[in-house]
């Protein structure tokens, strides 16, 4: 179990995160917040790359900084920008990472073959990575993160820059690999985690806003989301969430407490909830 206890992180005078408390048990967690909300700061603290200014992070009751190598040995991490040496092959690169994780060579070779198969890179395992697409590199990254069969897998915006097909493939891969481990996935793309995350963590004003299931988060806005024909003028108290295509043409999705004239109630999705929570000018 991983617990974050009253953690605050400041960069000089700027407070990136304030008094965050969370408990992670095996399952997939989605860190969903707009850019600059503090997702990467939390991830960097969970991966021991940054230290909390106040509070502590515990793994099975022990401070992760004090655990040091023991904690890092059970951690798999894919950073926002996966670093690699372009002139090396995925197999060579995975062997390098395995050595840094202290995995014996014979055991590592078997694990590398298995992971390359899982991420669909077996056929190009011995080709230089300089010709790889963004999606292929991310798959090398996830293979590196999974090398030590981590109990804690942390992925920082893993689908950024991927085309829709690669994003779906990546989501399926994460779902398949989640198993009995804690997976923390940071993103600002709602569809990335809507289907695979059991719990969604949201920050607002650098504080924890919620840690709840997608269904519960959406339920907060039940009966408050309506579809209106495009071109309808919005009355005070009505907030435009998004525009889209309905069965009868373009429509507006609107958040309001009272049903609007000509409004059709719709079931709020996680994207509606996200837009409602992070709407500008919100009191």
């Amino acid at each position: 179990m991983l617990s974050v206890e009253h953690v605050t992180k400041k960069y000089g005078q700027f407070t990136a995160l304030e008094d965050i408390s969370l408990t992670f048990t095996p399952g997939v967690y989605g860190l969903l917040a707009p850019n600059g909300a503090g997702k990467t700061t939390l991830i960097k603290m969970l991966t021991t790359l940054l230290f909390p200014t106040r509070g502590q992070i515990l793994w099975e009751g022990e401070d992760i900084q004090a655990l040091g190598a023991e904690y890092r040995g059970l951690l798999g991490y894919l950073p926002q920008q996966f670093g690699y040496y372009p002139n090396y092959t995925p197999r060579h690169f995975l062997r390098y990472a395995a050595a840094l994780q202290c995995i014996p060579r014979r055991e590592a070779d078997g694990r590398i073959d298995q992971l390359l198969e899982t991420v669909g890179l077996r056929d190009i395992a011995d080709k230089k990575m300089k010709k790889f697409s963004g999606g292929m590199l991310q798959r090398v990254g996830i293979a590196v993160a999974m090398l030590n069969d981590p109990q804690l897998l942390i992925l920082d915006e893993p689908t950024a820059g991927l085309d829709p097909r690669e994003r779906v493939r990546f989501r399926n891969l994460i779902h398949a690999l989640s198993g009995e481990r804690i997976v923390i996935l940071s993103t600002h793309i709602v569809s990335d985690i809507e289907t695979i995350a059991g719990q969604i963590i949201m920050f607002r004003d650098h504080r924890l806003y919620c840690c709840d299931s997608p269904a519960h988060i959406c339920a907060q806005f039940q009966g408050q989301v309506f579809q209106l024909p495009a071109g309808t003028s919005l009355a005070p108290g009505q907030f435009l969430l998004s525009e889209g295509q309905g069965a009868d043409g373009p429509v507006l999705r609107v958040l309001c407490e009272m049903p609007p004239v000509n409004g059709t109630p719709v079931t709020p999705g996680l994207e509606d909830a996200f837009l409602a929570i992070y709407r500008e000018g919100q009191p």
């Binding site: 960097k44 790359l49 991490y77 670093g83 390098y96 990472a97 050595a99 840094l100 030590n148």
Partner: protein, 249 residues
């Protein structure tokens, strides 16, 4: 029911008891040398220098090509001392800067901090490797310069000056690692170039440097290597945020 009072220990007695318990239960931390050796055994030399062979080749090329300007400088100033002082740490500086820059550019620097093997131990072992290569190449380079400049000063004096310069630069570069962000990498070479320019543009400083006896350079080399090792221990042991560059972007 027993009303007898249980004698409670004083604060000093409590602290002594806690200290005794901690002494018995906590095993002493192994020395830095042992930790470095264990890291080297765990990863091996090829992993230690993985991805840095191009930096090594480029640094060696830069270093070899620098022998020519060193000779020209020695000829123009009429003394070997300023050129030796300025150029002796060049290979070490080039290796450290190029590998550091490459790891930062590829995004690997931060990522390697999340592995079981300590990234700082790997960095320290690399520094020692670069230092070893620099010392080894210092000898033939000084020998070549000694022959090419007509053996005007003793070979021992030249070698002592070179090693003093190299070790002092090494200590300075580690000291500068205490600074955050790019300043930590760039401060040492900038300081060294500025310091090295003094005897080049001010003849009296060059004369003074030339007059320093061998034994003084030997003492400076010893002081430099001691400072280097102490600073290396601090670099490996002090709490340091590997992701600190994120905060400064």
């Amino acid at each position: 029911m027993c009303n007898q009072k249980i004698p409670m220990p004083t604060e000093a007695e409590k602290q002594r008891a806690i200290a005794r318990i901690l002494d018995v239960s906590l095993s002493p931390r192994p020395s830095l040398g042992r930790e470095l050796l264990e890291t080297l055994r765990a990863v091996g030399v090829p992993v230690l220098f993985f991805g840095t062979w191009d930096c090594l080749a480029l640094s060696l090329l830069i270093w070899a090509l620098s022998l020519l300007p060193a000779l020209v400088l020695a000829g123009s100033t009429g003394s070997l001392a300023p050129a030796l002082f300025l150029f002796s740490p060049l290979l070490y500086a080039a290796l450290s800067l190029l590998t550091g820059w490459k790891d930062l550019q590829t995004g690997l620097w931060e990522w390697t901090w999340t592995f079981r093997v300590s990234a700082r131990m790997v960095a320290a072992l690399r520094m020692l490797g670069f230092g070893g290569v620099s010392v080894l190449l210092c000898v033939p380079a000084n020998w070549a310069l000694w022959l090419l400049t007509g053996q005007e000063r003793s070979f021992g004096w030249m070698l002592a000056l070179s090693l003093a310069s190299l070790f002092l630069y090494g200590a300075l570069s580690l000291l500068c690692q205490r600074l955050r962000g790019p300043a930590g990498w760039l401060a040492a070479p900038v300081c060294w170039v500025l310091l090295g320019l003094v005897p080049l543009i001010w003849p009296r400083a060059a004369e003074w440097l030339t007059a320093v006896p061998t034994v003084v350079f030997c003492l400076l080399a010893a002081a430099g290597i001691t400072m280097y090792l102490l600073e290396l221990r601090r670099f490996c042991r002090r709490p340091m945020e590997g992701g600190v560059s994120y905060a400064f972007r």
